[in-house]
């Protein structure tokens, strides 16, 4: 068993390093409304994040921002919990049940991975209210609100922006993990590029495949993939890869290219050293969705059914911070109007 | 036991290099050393002999600072010293050459020597000069820039000795140094040791090869059951008397009784060959027969194809040409398991690596190699009860010293492990017994028992193939001796009228095969 001793040491080192990095994110608990004149409310909000949780500088953080805003404005009492990588389905269910058993209502599940768990637990607790982000399969469940986004529409606009700005007629797309959700980003982006100039070449790469979700949190992978695209002649790369995006920006800076951020206005949130390569960002306003949902709850009604956050309600969009696309805003707004009008129907699958 | 030399008279303090007085070392429940008293005179070769487990190695570990003694004193050059680590021992001028060499194969001799002693003479020209000085002074004939992996066993041993001298040792302990050497290398080693002695160094020589001890040592201390029995002068003692001192009882000899050889050929090996990827074949056209009731001894310098011959007969080698027939059945193309099950008992050369599962109980070791046969199996399943009962039988019949069949093989001494293997291989009704170095590294008591069992096998009508480096053993037990050299059988001898010297020269290809 001497050989296994060595292996165990290796394994433990692995587990520990994983745990230590993961622990980093639980320092910033939900901001407590410490101000003395803060409004108060007896609504307890349970927030179940996807892997990465608060602090992922992406999707989860965006949801957290909506929660924070609601907490600040309405004085709700929040509690949060995040998923661990590769956890069992029962772990997700138990997370929701723990909220349910401890007086939390509503309970917000961040991410489509919760779909089955929400379906099951919402049936067990019909008197409580649930919301799920990025999933519309529970449209008919009376105590579940489904908050979904038209990512393809926002992606269409940044695709058009890329097409208008590219000098090499060659752009790229990097997806974090190849899931139907991220494919929506790709489809919209490609459609936007083609709408401007169908001859522009679009490189597409996904960092990992399901069930390996590390593509959403591995800047090194993002950087390598982006470098490849810049080397091949692309000058603008759009990433929908969560935390891996940082690597895409670094590669853009080193290659002298441009990059497009995702989910939030990454010009504001990314590392200052790379912000000048961020041409624009595709905004997926999860925070808006969460905030609006909680605002309705605060008003006394629990929404149910599917709410789609699209261009029409500014649930998705693009950012202009940094001023790199100021000159093409009129063109983009024209596309936006066409999409809202339905003249352009953006595909959701590549 | 009449010829014991007088106990050493009180000597001038300065002439005693090492004086051990009343050394005791006990481990819980076991007394490893008890009241050990030894005086090693400066400029002499002092041998320490004893059975395996008699406490020699514990004693040497104490002297080399690996373990502290529980009682007693160590004096080196007249001063009482406390040796709490090998570093202390080296500072006190004590060096040790272990049985298993501790050299890095892909380093040169120079690099191996200076490794860990860089402070003494650096790693460059000064170190090289020092190595050459030592090599010349003691006739070690070391080439500093050769890679160790290119060196033979004898040369490696000289590098080990040089390493010790390089670190300034004046007292050198050699643990079983001849176990790995062939006869002419042994002679060279002894020449080297005498050279060291003449330069005023003291050599402590641990061995159980009594003839060698008698030929090289000035004084011999016998250890039995952890304590010093006697210090004798080799001039006045025979090997047999020495051996009897070691075991405390009368001894057998390996010689066989009247011939039991019959006409019936049991093992017939014809034109056995084993090509080697690099040049000279490992086995080259080997043919011999062994008859019922016959012991065929194979003599040879280690590495001349003995191991390959055994493995080829056992079916453990790929690419073997020629045929092996056992009792008329052609075994040339069947698996090792089928060969064993058709009646081959096998006592492997390296019992710990090939013969035993060290971390399994004895009863599981009884099953090893006999998985397909009763008493190991019943109704196609492993029969623990049957195997245990049969192990108990072997323990009793073959005098395996163990509390029972459930102890791990690792807990047994080498001799007892070997007796277990012999007992196992003699079970299952073999018709051929292959015994490869059956008494190597076992103590005198077990050696005698193993010889008896081999003789017994012959009496029962088995064919026995005996490979040994111990020429006395070969001459004593065999009905016929074949000499193997570079993968070929180069000469047959009648053990009745051959001397070890004649065999030795045939083995090295020097002599005229009788």
């Amino acid at each position: 068993m001497r050989r296994s001793t060595r292996l165990a040491a290796l394994l433990t080192a692995g587990i520990l390093s994983l745990a230590v990095t993961a622990c980093g994110s639980d320092n910033n608990k939900a901001s407590d409304p410490g101000a003395s004149n803060a409004p108060s409310s007896n609504i307890n909000v349970g927030m179940a994040y996807d892997v990465g949780g608060r602090g992922d500088q992406s999707f989860n953080d965006s949801a957290a921002a909506g929660l924070d805003q609601a907490v600040k404005e309405f004085g709700m009492k929040p509690s949060e919990s995040e998923a661990t990588d590769g956890e069992a389905e029962t772990a997700r269910e138990e997370r929701l049940r723990t909220f349910a058993d401890n007086g939390f209502d509503p309970i917000i599940a961040v991410g489509f991975a919760y779909a089955d768990a929400v379906k099951k637990v919402s049936a067990e607790y019909p008197e409580l209210h649930f919301a799920i982000i990025d999933d519309a399969s529970l449209a008919d469940v009376p105590n579940v609100a489904s908050l979904v986004f038209a990512e393809e529409q926002g992606s269409f606009l940044v695709g058009a922006a890329a097409a208008l700005k590219t000098k090499t007629d060659h752009v790229g797309f990097i997806g974090g993990v190849e899931t139907p959700l991220i494919q929506k980003f790709q489809a919209g982006y490609a459609a936007g590029v083609a709408a401007v100039n169908p001859d522009i070449k679009v490189d597409v790469t996904y960092l990992t495949q399901v069930p390996d979700f590390s593509g959403f949190g591995d800047p090194a992978k993002g950087k390598t993939a982006a470098q490849g695209m810049y080397d091949a002649g692309a000058d603008i790369v759009y990433h929908a890869a969560g935390g891996s995006g940082g690597g895409v920006f670094e590669a853009a800076k080193e290659a002298g290219g441009l990059a497009i951020g995702v989910d939030s206005d990454q010009y504001e949130t990314a590392d200052p050293s790379v912000k000048d390569v961020i041409m624009t960002s595709m905004l997926k306003n999860v925070n808006v969705a969460v905030y609006k949902y909680l605002a309705e709850v605060n008003g006394g009604t629990f929404p149910a059914g599917v709410t789609t956050y699209d261009l029409k309600v500014d649930g998705v969009g693009y950012s202009t911070s940094g001023g790199k696309i100021d000159d093409i805003v009129p063109d983009l707004d024209a596309f936006k109007q066409q999409i809202i009008d339905g003249t352009i129907v953006v595909p959701t699958t590549p | 036991m009449s010829s014991s030399a007088p106990a050493p008279a009180p000597e001038d303090q300065r002439s005693i290099a090492v004086r051990l007085r009343g050394i005791g070392k006990r481990f819980p429940g076991v007394i490893a050393n008890d009241d050990v008293n030894i005086d090693v005179k400066r400029g002499t070769i002092h041998a320490i002999v004893g059975e395996n487990g008699a406490g020699k190695s514990t004693l040497m570990k104490i002297l080399y600072g690996v373990q502290p003694p529980d009682s007693g004193t160590i004096e080196i050059n007249g001063e009482v010293v406390t040796l709490s680590s090998p570093a202390d021992a080296i500072r006190a001028g004590v060096g040790m050459v272990f049985q298993h060499f501790m050299l890095a194969d892909n380093f040169t001799v120079l690099e191996n020597v200076v490794l860990g002693a860089e402070k003494l003479h650096g790693v460059g020209a000064a170190a090289r000069a020092e190595i050459m000085r030592i090599s010349d002074a003691y006739g070690l004939d070391v080439e500093p820039d050769r890679l160790v992996e290119e060196l033979g066993v004898g040369a490696r041993q000289r590098v080990e000795i040089l390493k010790v001298l390089f670190r300034g040792a004046r007292i050198i302990i050699l643990d079983e140094p001849t176990a790995v050497l062939v006869p002419h290398e042994v002679d060279e080693l002894f020449t080297n040791l005498r050279g060291l002695k003449e330069e005023g160094l003291s050599v402590i020589f641990i061995s159980h090869k009594l003839d060698e001890v008698l030929s090289v040592a000035e004084e011999i201390t016998v250890i039995r059951r952890g304590t010093t029995v006697k210090t004798v002068d080799p001039a006045g003692v025979t090997a047999r008397q020495l051996a009897e001192l070691m075991v405390g009882s009368e001894l057998p000899s390996p010689s066989t009784e009247t011939s039991t050889v019959t006409d019936e050929v049991l093992l017939s090996v014809q034109h056995l060959g084993l090509p080697s990827p690099e040049g000279r074949p490992l086995l080259n056209d080997i043919s011999f027969d062994i008859h019922r009731g016959e012991i065929l001894g194979i003599a040879g310098v280690e590495g001349n194809g003995q191991a390959e011959l055994v493995e080829a007969i056992m079916g453990m080698r790929h690419g073997v040409t020629g045929s092996v027939r056992l009792s008329g059945t052609d075994l040339s193309h069947v698996s090792t398991r089928d060969r064993r099950e058709s009646g081959i008992g096998y006592i492997p050369e390296d019992r710990q690596r090939h013969g035993l599962l060290l971390d399994s109980p004895l009863w599981e070791n009884r099953i090893l190699g006999h998985q397909g046969r009763p008493p190991s199996v019943k109704h196609g399943l492993i029969d623990k009860r049957g195997a245990r009962t049969d192990t108990q039988r072997i323990i009793e019949q073959y005098d395996v010293r163990t509390p029972g069949p459930d102890v791990l093989a690792r807990a047994l001494s080498g001799g007892n492990q070997q007796k277990l293997i012999v007992g196992r291989e003699m079970s299952g009704d073999p018709i051929l017994l292959i015994a490869s170095h059956p008494t190597r590294g076992v103590d005198v008591g077990a050696q005698a028992a193993i010889w008896d069992h081999i003789k017994d096998a012959r009496r029962k009508g088995l064919a026995v193939l005996l490979i040994s480096a111990d020429l006395d053993e070969l001459i004593g037990l065999s009905d016929r001796i074949e000499v193997i050299l570079r993968g070929r059988l180069v000469g047959a001898f009648d053990p009745g009228d051959v001397t070890p010297e004649q065999l030795g020269s045939a083995m090295t290809g020097a002599g005229d095969p009788a």
Binding site: E89, D135 | D350, P403
Partner: protein
């Protein structure tokens, strides 16, 4: 003390030592981070309610199979790091087969289970074959095969996936109800359904014990694991054993995902539990490759996972803290087993020496010992 009692105490000593150390180290980490160690342990060590107990048993079932698969390799000194890939391939194939429902009812289930075993075995067999014929380290090849398995399954999953309207998950066709393995309830209310596959896992554990300890094949496997040289010399074909051991290990690995598949998920999708193979390595080490030990290890890991889930909500401490506990348990278990093993060997050697010392002095050699001839000097 009788040797048997000593052996038992030594066996218990190692895991207890490991657990205590792991708890102490975890507490230190908690205290250093300024987290309430008392509350954390209060939550983790609380008595689980029936629903959680169900989850513990269900997840332990899955971990147990993974641990067994790894342990089969370990017993032969083969490191099947690829259980992760093997179970994924197995679960995916089973999901597709069961989802297609070519056969009715339980015949469909049987076919799917057989397919999972075969595919897991084949996947591991590649590594076995490479090891046996080309000497490729199974550690390297199984790690590589994990990557390939991930991509391969992802590729085919997209082909086989059935999109549910509004869902962002990818999943295979749902297994028809008649082919699901029924659960049994250990309490009232929802979430107290224990996988019926539990019995398959228990049977696998028994089979593991029986094959290893009672059959010639198991003996050959253990012998090869202890000493390949001794195995060869005693007529065991190491190549054959290597391939067979990998095949069996992979076959069991193919079962790992099935309790989930047939007990709760009913399809293989992007949210199917991952990382089970690696957990199995830790559990096999913890359980000392012994079927009972692995069961205890699986229950312990499952217990810690389940009990820590609510930590963040109730105590405000990340459940990742138990990853530290689990890691330290594995490390300390291995260290303390090694310490206890060495102590045990020493004890036994002393025991042997003592037993022999108390015997009468050895009788002189055999029958022919009287022959008065000198050994040549």
């Amino acid at each position: 003390m009788s040797p048997r009692a000593t052996k038992f105490l030594l066996g218990i000593a190692a895991p207890v030592l490991a657990l205590v150390t792991a708890f102490a180290i975890t507490s230190l980490v908690l205290i250093a981070a300024g987290d309430p160690a008392g509350e954390v342990w209060g939550q983790i060590l609380s008595v689980p309610e029936t629903r959680k107990l169900t989850n513990i048993i269900n997840n332990a079932t899955v971990l147990y199979l993974s641990g067994l698969a790894v342990a089969i390799g370990f017993r032969m000194n083969l490191f099947n790091i690829g259980v992760d890939g093997q179970y994924r391939v197995g679960a995916f194939v089973a999901a597709v087969v069961a989802g297609e429902a070519w056969l009715p009812g339980y015949l469909n289930t049987l076919l799917a289970v057989a397919a999972a075993i075969l595919c897991g075995a084949a996947w591991a067999g590649i590594a076995g074959l490479l090891r046996a014929t080309r000497g490729v380290s199974e550690v390297i090849s199984t790690i590589m095969l994990n990557f390939i398995a991930t991509s391969l399954v992802a590729f085919f999953l997209r082909k086989a996936a059935v999109r549910v309207e509004g869902s962002n998950s990818l999943g295979t066709k749902v297994i028809p109800e008649g082919s699901r393995i029924p659960s049994f309830s250990i309490g009232s209310g929802p979430g107290t359904e224990v996988y019926g596959f539990l019995f398959v896992a228990i049977f696998a554990g028994f089979a593991f014990w029986f094959v290893l300890n009672k059959t010639r094949f198991g003996f050959d496997l253990r012998a090869t694991g202890q000493s390949t040289t001794a195995a060869v010399a005693n007529g065991i074909s190491v190549k054959k054993m290597t391939i067979l051991a990998m095949l069996i290990s992979g076959g069991v690995a193919g079962l790992v995902g099935l309790p989930i598949l047939f007990g709760s998920a009913y399809s293989y999708g992007s949210t199917f539990q991952s990382g089970l193979g690696f957990a199995g390595i830790a559990i096999a080490l913890l359980g000392r490759n012994n079927p009972i030990g692995i069961a205890i290890g699986a229950l312990l890991f499952s217990f810690l996972n389940e009990q820590s889930n609510a930590l963040q909500i109730l105590v405000g401490v990340s459940p990742d803290i138990v990853a530290i506990t689990q890691g330290v348990i594995v490390l300390t278990v291995v260290i303390s087993y090694e310490i206890v093993r060495r102590y045990g060997v020493r004890l036994e050697q002393q025991h042997v020496a003592q037993a022999l010392a108390s015997e009468a002095p050895p009788p002189p050699g055999g029958p022919s010992s009287a022959e008065p001839e000198e050994v040549r000097a």
